[in-house]
Every structure is written in C-alpha cells, then in structure tokens.
C-alpha cells in the first residue's frame, strides 16, 4: 500500500498523524522533517526561562518514540525539495517518494527586517526548538538583550528574559506593544507592566544597524539612539513556507490556500498549520491547527469532515500583565474599553452592538469563560 505523506513534524504534522490514527490504523503514514523530529510544544519556548527549563527539558518525545506510539515512519534530517503533483511524488534528500495523499505541514519562517552593520548574521530568530538551542547557548551569561519587534512573540520573550534578570530593550515602530491586536489602553497596560520589570521601550523607532563590539553588539536606532547589548533577537513576524507549493503550481495567497476540508487546489494535497490559509484566514496559532488536525484526520481516513473553528482567543504569555485577545477579523466595529489598568476589558462591537472581538488584561483575564460564551466562532 502506498503511503500518505506529511511534510513536517511540528504540532500540525504530529497533530494530524495522531488524529488520523484514531480512524485508520493500517494505511502507512510517513512524516518527513528537516529537523530531528523531536516533538515539543512550541509555545513553551517563550516561557522556558521563567519556568526554569533548559532546551532539552522541552522535548516531549524523541522522533523514534513518536514513530512507535503512532505506528508511523518519521524521516528526520530529511529535506523535501520538490513536489510533483502529476506523478504524485515528493523529492526527499534527492530521491522520489510516492504518495497517495500529501499533507503540507511545513510551517512558516521568521521574517527579517533589512539591517545594516557587520553583525546581521548574529541576530537571532526563534521559530523552532533548534533555533532556541542556539539562542540559549549564546544567551549564556548575557546581561542585556535587544529585541526587535513588540508583537506577541517579542513581548513574551521580553517578559521571559526580564524574569531571568536580563535587561531588555524592545524596539518597534508601533506606538504601543501588540498594536495590531490591542486597543491603545490595553497595549499601554502591558507596556507599563513590562517597563516595571525593567523593559526599556524604544517605540516609534527602528533598528538601523547592528555592529560587533567586543563580545557584544552595538545597535543603532533610526531615531539616533545607540544601545550596547550582549545579544539581539528579532521577532517581527512570520511568512508561511509556500515555496514548495508555489513551485508545484498549487494556489497560494498569504499561505497555501485551502478550503474547509483543508484541501488545496490539487485535490490530493492538503495543508494545515502555519503554512496554510484556511478559507482566506491565516491563523498561525495552536488552537486553529488542532481543530484542523481533528477534521483532516477524519477526511484522510475517508470521512470528509470540514474544519470548525470555535471561539479561539490567543493567550499572550506575559505574566507581568497577562493578556487574552480574540481579534476581530477585519470586520467593521469599534473598541469599548472598561476597567482600570492593568485590569481592562475591551469589547470590540459592530454597528448593532454585538461583541465580535475582545481583549482582556490583568485580572480581567479571569473572565475568559464568560467572553468565550458571548463571542461568535471564527468558522462556525
């Protein structure tokens, strides 16, 4: 029997393997990954210092154990370089591998902002456990770190580093942290809470260059400032790894375009997780991919199942000021903010007064359950 092939062993790849095996215990399933195939929970990366975890502590199970438990084959250290949808093969480490169905779970990559200076190659990006190992190796002994980007991942790392006693500088052209997700009052609440932990904000500013300077780096800001740090981390956003799909002629937009059955423009090829855009929605978070994995597991086993997205708030792991946000998806409306910082309830309501998004900060995050019941699902 020819196998179903999955590219990727992140939460999406292992997620779909786990769900598929609940419905089909016999069809061969091969997962291919260019990393070591260890399973880990990626959100743990930005909480590890606070929780006292070393990178190795974050490994849930090595590849061999995953393969055994799920009765699948995991090909680690294997790069897929090409997809031939006509022949139904993928090229793995230069050799053709036939598939009956193919699942793209090959994730996204961290974007880089253009920077000057002789140390651009030393700027860290963290989007995998492998990246994180390198980051922690270089972090060893660091006392001051500059983070480019005050979005979700930048803020989480800022809080985690601050908790470990490391001074943090955060640089972003926005006016307040998480500006794309939060109304100003909520963003300011987070900003002050992190400032109290020692985070130095450089908002409305950008990094122009990173130069080597002894054992550390000298970072120049466009606004004229200069900061000397031991390490620079960039967290400015993600771009789905669509190159394989594009070269194969599959339809892509921000991510690989799939319908509610996670099916791409080729009916034998599916996608989920950070590489995918489901019905036009690019949601690079764990909850959406878990829901997608549950539906796709059934579909691959022969029971066509559309994905349903319930209310899926995003928890920002900044213990200095916890934030839960359920972003309105492009719909027209306005924020109504109540409470007193740091405990705020921000409701995003449409013209008819219906709640279509929300943000909770500080102690107000305790009302999570109530808001989940009131808000509409992403894809009902």
């Amino acid at each position: 029997m020819q196998p179903i092939v999955v590219i990727g062993t992140g939460l999406a790849g292992y997620g779909v393997a786990r769900e598929f095996r609940k419905h089909d215990r016999h069809t061969p399933l091969i997962l291919i990954t260019r990393d070591d195939g260890a399973s880990y929970y990626k959100p743990d990366l930005s909480e590890a210092l606070t929780k006292g975890n070393a990178p190795e502590d974050l490994v849930k199970k090595p590849a061999a154990r995953m393969a055994e438990e799920l009765d699948i084959e995991v090909r680690a250290d294997s790069e897929v370089s090409d997809i031939d949808t006509g022949a139904r093969t993928v090229t793995v480490n230069g050799e053709a591998l036939a598939y009956t169905k193919l699942v793209l779970a090959n994730g996204a990559s961290q974007l880089s902002v253009p920077l000057g200076g002789d140390a651009v190659a030393d700027v860290h990006h963290v989007n995998s456990l492998a990246d994180y190992r390198v980051f922690r190796r270089d972090l060893n002994g660091a006392r001051r770190v500059l983070i480019i980007g005050a979005g979700l991942i930048g803020c989480e790392f800022a809080n985690d580093l601050a908790n470990a006693g490391i001074a943090v500088d955060s640089v972003d052209p926005v006016d307040w942290p998480l500006q794309r997700l939060l109304p100003e009052e909520a963003g300011r609440a987070l900003q002050s809470a992190l400032a109290e932990q020692g985070v130095q904000w450089h908002l409305g500013d950008t990094v122009s260059s990173v130069e080597r300077d002894g054992d550390g780096f000298r970072v120049s800001l466009s606004g004229g400032g200069e900061v000397s740090v031991d390490l620079v981390l960039s967290a400015v956003g993600l771009r789905p790894n669509t190159a394989l799909a594009e070269a194969a002629g599959l339809r892509t937009a921000t991510g690989v375009s799939v319908d509610r059955h996670l099916r791409s423009s080729d009916p034998q090829v599916y996608a989920l997780g950070d590489v995918a855009e489901v019905e036009g929605q690019f949601l690079p978070f764990v909850m959406p991919l878990m829901n997608a994995a549950r539906a796709l597991g059934r579909t691959l086993a022969g029971e066509d199942t559309p994905v349903r997205y319930p209310v899926m708030p995003v928890t920002v792991k900044t213990p200095a000021c916890p934030v839960i946000v359920y972003p309105p998806r492009g719909a027209a409306g306005q924020w109504q903010v109540a409470g007193e910082a740091p405990s705020l309830e921000a409701r995003y309501v449409d013209a008819a007064g219906n709640l279509i998004g929300y943000a909770l900060t500080g102690e107000a995050t305790g009302k999570r359950g109530q808001y989940m019941r009131e808000a509409p699902p992403v894809l009902g």
Partner: protein
C-alpha cells in the same frame, strides 16, 4: 481524585478542582467530562490526555 495531563501541551485537569471557568464543577470525574471536550490551552482532544500517576 485523579489528575489528567494533556500529552500535547502539558495542561493538567485536576478532578478535585474541576474547571469552574468552563462550567465543570470541582469534583467532576474525568469520565463525566464530554468526549468532545478539548484542552483549554491547546485544543487537543480529550483522548490525548494521560492519567498522572499518583505518588
């Protein structure tokens, strides 16, 4: 009372505490939680939880 842990993210459901936030009362036994319930942190299925051995 037992505890169950999500194999994906590590979230722990403690029968003694329940999940009042989600309307699951303290003392609710694992088998009385609906099968379509999912992990509040990561969305994994109920059957992806493992019992935590009591020491």
């Amino acid at each position: 009372m037992r505890k169950w842990q999500c194999a994906v993210c590590g979230f722990i459901y403690d029968e003694a505490e329940g999940l009042p936030e989600e309307g699951i009362a303290p003392g609710t036994r694992w088998e009385d939680i609906p099968d379509d319930w999912t992990c509040p942190d990561c969305g994994a299925s109920k059957d992806d939880f493992e019992m935590v051995p009591t020491d």
